[in-house]
Homo-oligomer: 344 residues x 2
């Protein structure tokens, strides 16, 4: 293939790239129950439980900007992002490894701040830091975490289990993290233009916290246990609701219809999106980094979620041939597009 026709990564995107690179890998060990293609891999062990394994890497300048991301928040967030993948399998995270790439000129005190955030997250999520690697980097800070979790073999939720007529449900609210990021970017722009102007962050605390220090929904997994509920499929929202819906649809070989007026958007998010000239529905659909749980439930479980303030029923699964549809309050349907957060 000549130089000119070589594909560059940005032309095929992250998911296309992963498909392309891993297509020919086969699972050969009996203990490898589920490989690439869900929030975690599933590894069997003797007895009633399975182990869950996932890995995520955060890179300076791509996933975080140290000009407004405090290192302690970064440490907490890096753990949240990883344990969220275990909750998305209906599991419980237990161990993490942290591999760090960092300039040798980085002050040890700054790394201690990062580890204070990791420690706070370990305590919050009841996970143990059990290993990792620390190495030099010429090029900004890199935080690469792997997480090991545990789940009852009969209780794991995959992306692939949704069936026609299942309810599509999301925890919490959507778009806040994205709007928090927009506020931080706006104030950074103002500061860069005139360093004498103090950033105006008052009143946006909740949105900013959702961006800088998101909380993965371990409480939702406990709620499921209390209500003896198992999702038929589940995923966490990292790239944006629309993108995750399309993952569930693809894995479950179905489609989804969702109602725009059912999307949970906090009042502050609506006000802030108006202030910034953004469409709150677009922020909710495509903002990303919500770390809420998106799942499907059998119709028989409707009562469990009907008036439950922790959850919103936003749509339902349909036959695959329907396509993924967004239905507005006038009942007109448009095809759902994912414009999720692309970092390539």
């Amino acid at each position: 293939m000549s130089e000119n026709t070589k594909n560059e990564i940005e032309s095929i995107g992250e998911f296309g790239l992963i498909d392309e690179l891993t297509r020919e890998f086969k699972l050969t060990n009996d203990s490898s129950v589920k490989g690439i293609g869900d929030d975690c891999a599933v590894i069997s062990s003797e007895g009633e439980h399975c182990k869950l394994l996932s890995a995520d890497m955060l890179v300076e300048g791509v996933h975080f900007n140290l000009s407004y991301m405090p290192l302690k928040s970064l440490g907490f967030k890096a753990v949240s992002v990883n344990v969220s993948d275990v909750y998305a399998m209906n599991g419980k995270p237990e161990q993490i490894t942290v591999s760090l790439g960092v300039s040798s000129k980085f002050p040890v005190e700054a790394l201690k701040e990062l580890y204070a955030g990791i420690k706070a997250a370990c305590e919050f999520y009841s996970v143990d830091l059990i290993g990792g690697d620390t190495t030099s980097s010429y090029s900004g800070l890199i935080v690469s975490i792997s997480v090991l979790g545990v789940a009852d073999k009969t209780n794991i939720s995959f992306r692939s289990g949704a069936k026609e007529n299942d309810l599509l449900i999301v925890s919490g609210d959507l778009g806040s993290s994205y709007l928090g990021l927009q506020i931080l970017e706006r104030e950074k722009g103002v500061f860069n233009a005139n360093p004498n102007i103090q950033p105006k962050l008052d009143g946006y605390d909740e949105l900013i916290k959702r961006q800088l220090q998101p909380i993965a929904r371990k409480d939702v997994i406990s709620m499921f246990e209390e209500m003896s509920f198992k999702p038929t499929s589940m995923i966490d929202i990292s790239d944006g609701l629309a993108s995750e819906i399309m993952h569930l649809a693809k894995s479950s070989e179905c489609s989804f219809s969702i109602y725009s007026d059912k999307l949970p958007i906090a009042e502050k998010s609506i006000l802030t999106s108006e202030e910034l000239g953004l469409d709150p529905f677009v922020c909710a659909l495509n903002g990303g980094e919500d770390y809420e749980l998106l799942f499907t439930a059998d119709q028989k479980d409707f009562e469990k979620f009907k008036n439950n303030p922790n959850f919103s029923i936003i749509g339902f699964a349909t036959d695959k041939s329907n396509g993924n549809l967004l239905i507005d309050k006038n009942d007109s349907a448009v095809t759902l597009n994912a414009q999720g957060w692309r970092h390539f």
Copy 2:
């Protein structure tokens, strides 16, 4: 603390840094059997087996130089480095995750080469690629791998089990990888000075292969099984023999005396070190990246290793108060210093 007195990482080194950052982390989950401080963490599962987890990150410009490291070799090496940590616990690697940071301008064809190397290693070591993350990087290639292995609960070898009079044994030979790197660096220097001069790599193939595509010693673990042998302690040689001896000594609360004339050094390594004006013993002691296994054996197992061409008995464990000593052929002893490969 004022700006001037802040510690920089390079002043305390990698191991000091890890100690400093992780000192206050406690293990809280029953399943966390062993955390930081060995080649792998140990996680219990039901039944007779434990899971082993380790993570290593390779950073461009620090761990590899793409001007002489073919991407396929890099992929193979990144897996070798990780599975070597599982063998060092007397375990069997079964799964890996690969997290990749890469410029969006990187050609997909080049990444396919990297994954061809990862795939070759997965097949060679019988491990499954089960997940990971692919993200953009502004700053060179980053390959962060985690490996999950399995071991019989009663058969794990920790760094901490050596006792006085145990034999200190090493597999294979030492210093080859370091000398391979020196040859690559020499030829790169010649090429940079005059790009018309072709690199002279003929005759150094074995040394260069040891550097570019090291093989972790899965065969040694099989040998142990066949001879019904369990090391009293074990570690793999990544940073250099002297550094690893000091790790075993510290974890086992003992010291070691080693004989310089017992160090296994291949004839080609001796010739090459002479050619380069290097001391072959220094290369063997401090070169690093050998990925051989260093372990201790009870005296009763002496016969198993006495004339075994796969192993060299290089010394023995002594009381801690003796200190780690290097004894030369004239029986004069000097204190062993680790000048292992420092990447900070």
